[in-house]
C-alpha cells in the first residue's frame, strides 16, 4: 500500500497488471487495454479573507478499452479509483460497446515490452513551504504543484509509463494570467514586462501585443479550426506540434494509445498543413475520455523582433466561434475591464502580420509561445462605446 501512496513506480505497475488481469478475466476473449492514473497535487490559495489555505489532492482513476474482432471502434468506460471492483465495472461497461471510442485508432502491436517517459522522481514541496511561499508573495493568488503517473498496458502485454511534474500559478494582478511549467521550480518570480500601455479613450491602438496566455488561446483556436485544411495562413505564423517537448505540459514520447510520437508541422511555408490522424497523435482529455486524434504541445516559433509602439497589451483572450467562420476576441486588459473587442474572419486573422517579442514559454491554455504582435486593424479591433 505504501508504494501507491508514494507514487512508487514498481508498486503502481504491479497493481496495474493486477487490475488488467481482472479486466481480462471479466471480458473473456476480447482484447483489453488498461489506462490508469494516480496523482498527488498540492495547492496553496489566498482566500477571500487573505488567509492562505492548503488543498492536498490524491486522485486516481482507470479506463478500459475493449477491442472487437471486426475493427470497429473500441468499447470504452472509466471510473475513479484503482480498486479491483472498479476494474471489473469498467470492463463490464466497455465490453457492451455502448460507449465507443469513436475516432480512436487501434492499439499498437509489435512494440517494446516496456517504455518509459519519466520526469525526475522529485518530492512535492511540503504544504508548509507552499503556504509560506504564497504568504510571502503578495502578487500570487495560488500555486499548485503536482505529480501524475499514467500507466498504459496493451492487450499484448506491453506497458508504457509516464510521470509528469507540473506547476501552475495564478497571479493576483487582476489579469487572470495562469503560468504553467514542467517541474517544481519557483514560479513565483513575476517577470512583469514593460508592455502595459493603454491608449486614452477614443484611440484604437494600431497593434496588439498578446501575452503568451492570450496568444495561446488564439493559436489553439486557429489550429483547431484550420489544421485540417491547406489554406494560407501567412508566413509569419510558424506552429509545430512537438509531443516530446521538454517544456510541454502535455504529450510525451508516446501518445495515449501507446504509439511513438514525433514532431510535425502545423503550418509550413505560410500554409496550414492538412492533419493526418493516426498513430502518434491520439490523446485523452483525461482518464475519463477515450484517446482521440489531436495535438499535444503546440509550439509557436519566435519570429522577427517587432516594435510595439502604440499597442494594447492583452493578457487574456476569449475566442468564440460564431457560426462557421466568424470569431470574436473578448479582450481583457486588467485595467478597467473589457474596453476593446475584435470581430474577425479567421482567414483575415491568419493573414495578419505576426511578429514576436521575448522568449517562448509554456502556457496553461496550451501552446508554448512568445508574445505575439498582431495588427489591430486586420483583427477588426474596435473600442466598446
Amino acid at each position: 500500500m505504501k508504494g501507491i501512496e508514494a507514487l512508487e513506480l514498481g508498486a503502481l505497475i504491479e497493481h496495474a497488471r493486477v487490475l488488467r488481469a481482472c479486466m481480462t478475466a471479466r471480458v473473456g476473449s476480447e482484447r483489453v487495454e488498461l489506462f490508469a492514473k494516480v496523482s498527488h497535487r498540492r495547492r496553496a490559495t489566498r482566500d477571500a479573507t487573505c488567509d492562505v489555505s492548503l488543498h492536498d489532492v490524491r486522485e486516481s482513476g482507470l479506463a478500459c478499452r475493449v477491442f472487437g474482432r471486426e475493427g470497429e471502434p473500441a468499447g470504452f468506460a472509466s471510473a475513479s479509483g484503482v480498486s479491483t471492483s472498479e476494474a471489473e465495472w469498467v470492463a463490464d461497461r466497455a465490453r457492451t460497446f455502448e460507449g465507443r471510442a469513436s475516432g480512436s485508432t487501434p492499439e499498437p502491436s509489435d512494440l517494446a515490452g516496456e517504455r518509459w517517459d519519466l520526469d525526475p522522481a522529485d518530492s512535492l514541496p511540503t504544504g508548509d513551504s507552499l503556504i509560506a511561499l504564497v504568504r510571502e508573495r503578495k502578487a500570487v493568488e495560488w500555486i499548485e504543484l503536482g505529480t501524475t503517473v499514467e500507466i498504459l498496458i496493451g492487450s499484448q502485454g506491453w506497458m508504457a509509463c509516464r510521470r509528469r511534474n507540473r506547476a501552475w500559478l495564478l497571479g493576483s494582478n487582476g489579469r487572470g494570467e495562469i503560468r504553467a511549467r514542467r517541474g517544481f521550480e519557483d514560479l513565483a518570480e513575476q517577470d512583469e514586462d514593460a508592455i502595459s500601455s493603454i491608449p486614452p479613450g477614443g484611440i484604437v491602438p494600431t497593434s496588439l501585443v498578446l501575452a503568451p496566455s492570450a496568444s495561446g488561446a488564439l493559436v489553439s483556436a486557429l489550429v483547431s479550426a484550420f489544421h485540417r485544411s491547406n489554406e494560407q495562413c501567412g508566413a509569419g505564423l510558424d506552429v509545430d506540434d512537438v509531443p516530446a517537448h521538454e517544456e510541454g505540459l502535455a504529450g510525451g514520447a508516446f501518445d495515449d494509445a501507446g504509439f511513438p510520437t514525433s514532431p510535425r508541422p502545423i503550418t509550413a511555408d505560410g500554409y496550414w498543413v492538412p492533419f493526418e490522424p493516426g498513430p502518434g497523435n491520439v490523446w485523452r482529455g483525461s482518464f475519463r475520455a477515450p484517446p482521440t486524434p489531436g495535438t499535444s504541445n503546440l509550439v509557436v516559433s519566435p519570429g522577427k523582433p517587432a516594435s510595439h509602439g502604440d499597442c494594447l497589451r492583452i493578457s487574456k483572450c476569449r475566442v468564440v466561434p460564431l457560426g462557421r467562420d466568424v470569431w470574436v476576441l473578448d479582450l481583457e486588459t486588467g485595467q478597467g475591464g473589457p474596453r476593446f473587442a475584435a470581430r474577425a474572419d479567421p482567414r483575415a486573422v491568419s493573414l495578419a502580420p505576426i511578429a514576436t517579442l521575448g522568449p517562448a514559454v509554456p502556457t496553461a491554455t496550451g501552446p508554448i509561445g512568445p508574445h505575439l504582435v498582431v495588427d489591430g486593424g486586420l483583427l477588426g479591433l474596435r473600442e466598446i462605446v
Binding site: 500500500m1 505504501k2 501507491i4 482566500d47 489555505s53 468506460a77 468564440v320 470581430r343 477588426g380
Partner: protein
C-alpha cells in the same frame, strides 16, 4: 431534485459521523464531504449514430484550513485521515451506491438532426460536528441541432426530467436566409427565459460572497434608483440540478440579490459568512470532491412583474427580440458582460421580423439597471441550460426570467 433517503445510511453516514467527531471544534470550514456520482453522455443522430459513455466517481474531501481530497477511500479509514494519516488509493473491493442512468431509445424525429444528452446523478454526504446530512442532485440536459444550416440558432436546449423517457417535440427547421447582425445599440426585448443568462452573469456573479469580499463590485457603487422594476433571486432548491443542502452541509435558502432595484443579499458559504459575521446561505459548492468550496449560484432568475408580454413586444417600435443567449462572460468589477446571441429577430412596429445571424452583445450592468422599463408576468426557466465555470470548476446551473425590455443593448460583433 429528489429527496430520496440515502440507501446505505449504515455505511457512509455512520463512518462520516464517527470521523466528524474528530474535526476541529469551532472551525466553520471543517467538514467531511463524500460524493458518489455517475456521469453519462449519449450522442444520437438522424443517420443512426449512437454513442453512450458512462463514468462513475467516488471521493472524499476533509475540509478545513488544510484540506485533504482523496479518491475512493475506505470509509473505515476516515477517522485516521481526519487525524492526519497518509491516504492510499484503495486496491481491493470498493462499493459504489447502485446509481444508474436511464438510457433512452431513439426519438422519432423527422428530418436531419443530431442530439446530445448529458446527465448526472450525484449523492453526497456531509459530516460536521453537529451531524450528517445527505442530498441527491440529478440533471438531464438535452441539446439538439436540427436542419442543415450550421448556424447555432437551429440548436435547441432543454432540461429533461431524468425519470421521464419521453422526447420533446422538435420545431421544424427554419431554412430562411439570415439578416446581417444589427450594427448599433438597440432596444432589446428578451423572450421569456432568455434574460436569465444575463441575470446570472451580471447580477449573480457580482453577488457571490467571495467576489464581493475580495474587491468592490460594480453593484456596490451603482447609483440606485427607487422604483426600478428589477428583482433578482437565487433559489438553489429550484431548477434542474437543485440542492437542499450545500456541499458544506448547510440547508440552502433563496436569496434576493437585487430587490426592486436595490442591492440586497449575498451568496455565502461558511468562510464568507464567517468573515461577514453572519450565517451561510447554503451556497457553498464544489465541482467535485477534489475542489475547494466556493459560493456559487444555483437557479438565478428575474422575478416576474405585471406587464403583459404581448404588450411589451407590441409597444416596441424598433428593436431586437432576443430568444436565446448562449455563452456569457462577465467582469464583476466593471459590470460589463458579453453574450453570444444565437437566436434573435428584428422588431419592426411591434412585430417580429427578419431573423439575424448570430452576433455578440455587450451589456453594462448600469445600463440594464437604468434602462429596464418592462418586466412581464411570464416567468420561464431553463430555456437555456448549461454549466457555469468559475475558477476552473464547472457546475450545472439553472436560469430563468420573464419577458423584459432593456433600452440599451450594445453590439460588439
Amino acid at each position: 431534485m429528489s429527496p430520496d433517503p440515502p440507501d446505505s445510511i449504515d455505511a457512509e453516514s455512520v463512518a462520516i459521523a464517527e470521523a466528524a467527531t474528530l474535526l476541529p471544534r469551532g472551525d466553520q470550514r471543517a467538514h467531511i464531504f463524500l460524493e458518489a456520482r455517475v456521469d453519462a453522455r449519449l450522442d444520437l443522430d438522424s443517420e443512426g449514430g449512437r454513442n453512450y459513455v458512462e463514468t462513475r466517481t467516488r471521493g472524499v474531501a476533509i475540509a478545513g484550513p488544510r484540506s485533504l481530497h482523496v479518491t475512493d477511500p475506505d470509509p473505515r479509514e476516515l477517522p485516521a485521515l481526519v487525524r492526519g494519516a497518509e491516504p492510499s488509493p484503495r486496491r481491493d473491493v470498493s462499493r459504489h451506491p447502485p446509481l444508474s442512468l436511464r438510457t433512452r431509445e431513439r426519438p422519432a424525429w423527422r428530418g436531419r438532426w443530431s442530439a446530445r444528452i448529458v446527465q448526472f446523478d450525484q449523492k453526497i454526504w456531509v459530516g460536521r460536528e453537529e451531524g450528517v446530512v445527505f442530498d441527491r442532485r440529478r440533471s438531464c440536459r438535452l441539446s439538439v441541432r436540427v436542419g442543415t444550416q450550421p448556424e447555432a440558432r437551429d440548436e435547441l436546449e432543454l432540461a429533461l426530467d431524468p425519470d421521464d423517457p419521453r422526447w420533446p417535440t422538435l420545431p421544424d427547421p427554419q431554412e430562411r436566409p439570415l439578416a446581417s447582425p444589427p450594427r448599433g445599440p438597440f432596444v432589446g426585448v428578451f423572450a421569456p427565459g432568455a434574460a436569465g443568462v444575463m441575470a446570472h452573469e451580471l447580477f449573480g456573479h457580482a453577488r457571490e460572497g467571495d467576489v464581493a469580499l475580495r474587491r468592490e463590485t460594480w453593484i456596490a457603487s451603482v447609483d440606485t434608483t427607487p422604483g426600478v422594476p428589477l428583482t433578482v433571486i437565487d433559489a438553489p432548491a429550484r431548477g434542474r440540478a437543485g440542492w437542499r443542502f450545500d456541499d458544506e452541509g448547510t440547508p440552502s435558502r433563496s436569496v434576493v440579490l437585487i430587490d426592486q432595484g436595490s442591492p440586497a443579499g449575498l451568496l455565502l458559504d461558511r468562510a464568507c459568512a464567517s468573515a461577514l459575521r453572519t450565517e451561510s446561505t447554503g451556497h457553498g459548492r464544489r465541482s467535485s470532491y477534489m475542489d475547494p468550496i466556493r459560493p456559487r449560484m444555483g437557479c438565478t432568475y428575474i422575478e416576474q412583474g405585471h406587464d403583459d408580454p404581448d404588450e411589451v413586444l407590441s409597444g416596441t417600435r424598433d428593436g431586437v427580440y432576443l430568444r436565446r443567449l448562449s455563452a456569457g462572460h462577465t467582469d464583476p468589477v466593471t459590470g460589463r458582460a458579453t453574450f453570444v446571441v444565437t437566436d434573435a429577430a428584428r422588431i419592426v412596429n411591434g412585430s417580429i421580423d427578419q431573423t439575424f445571424a448570430p452576433f455578440v452583445i455587450m451589456l453594462d450592468g448600469r445600463d440594464v439597471w437604468h434602462s429596464i422599463d418592462a418586466v412581464a408576468r411570464d416567468l420561464r426557466f431553463d430555456s437555456s441550460v448549461g454549466s457555469c465555470i468559475r475558477d476552473g470548476q464547472p457546475l450545472a446551473v439553472s436560469v430563468g426570467g420573464p419577458t423584459i425590455r432593456i433600452g440599451l443593448v450594445k453590439v460588439l460583433a
